[in-house]
Amino acid sequence: MTGMMAALFLPAASDSLPSLGGRLFVAYRIAWWALFALAVVAAGTALLEPSTHPLILGLRLTKSIVLMAVSPSCSAAEPILSRR
């Protein structure tokens, strides 16, 4: 009987992750966008340096694109990794 009542009134167990929210998450998103802007500015400033060889600029730009592309994947995966 108790088991049946619990099944009726208690929330069902779910394998999915809880949705992210709250002040901490907002702070995280602000920090992410601020650092993203910093990364774009730093990469852009490096491109504007006239004395740097074009090949070196190309290498730095490629690296910046890869790091900026990897960053959201890491951010998305962290809640999953921390549950293990």
């Binding site: 992410w32 990364a39 730093a42 740097t52 090949l55 730095r60 890869v66 790091l67 994947s73 890491c74």
Partner: protein, 168 residues
């Protein structure tokens, strides 16, 4: 934290890595590096094996030395060699954790990260060693491009190691 750390790394590694006078990018670069390995090695918050606590304290002390050097309060240039030592010690902690893991899935994920880190750190250290040697003599442009290529490739391989472990 890892995502934020990668964005910070984009900014700190966009300057000339061979220029030792750029203290703040160097500090952010090497400290961020250690933080990334630490997050991976101690993702569950457990400091195993025990000697890794001493490594964590050493990292904090070296970071303090780096700040003091960047502010000009210390006239030494000991931050970079000490930071490289910390990176290698943290990497040893990561490999020790890899050996002690029992879960096959966790082991496989850490394997990709460790592989990327070992290859990437080797390339970055080669580039730094080359830059240190080149600072004492004149280097042709080809050599400068080659060292830059090693450095940037090292960073890309580390990032791809993390990405592969997440996607698999």
């Amino acid at each position: 934290m890892m995502g934020l750390s990668f964005l910070l790394w984009t900014a700190s590694s966009s300057v000339n890595f061979a220029d030792a006078s750029l203290a703040w990018p160097l500090l952010l670069d090497d400290s961020g590096f250690t933080v990334r390995i630490c997050i991976t090695a101690f993702s569950d918050g457990r400091w195993t094996p025990r000697w890794t606590r001493a490594v964590a304290i050493a990292i904090l002390l070296v970071f303090l030395v780096g700040i003091l050097e960047a502010l000009g309060l210390f006239s030494t240039r000991s931050f970079l060699p000490l930071a490289i030592g910390c990176v290698l010690l943290t990497l040893s902690a990561l490999l020790a954790r890899y050996k002690s893991l029992t879960s096959l899935m966790a082991k496989q994920q850490l394997k990709w990260v460790a592989l990327g880190l070992v290859v990437g750190i080797s390339l970055i250290l080669s580039a730094r060693a080359g830059a240190a040697v080149a600072a004492r003599s004149t280097m042709p442009m080809t050599g400068t491009i080659l060292l830059e290529c090693l450095f940037q490739l090292g960073i890309v391989i580390i990032a791809l190691g993390f990405l592969t472990s997440l996607l698999r």
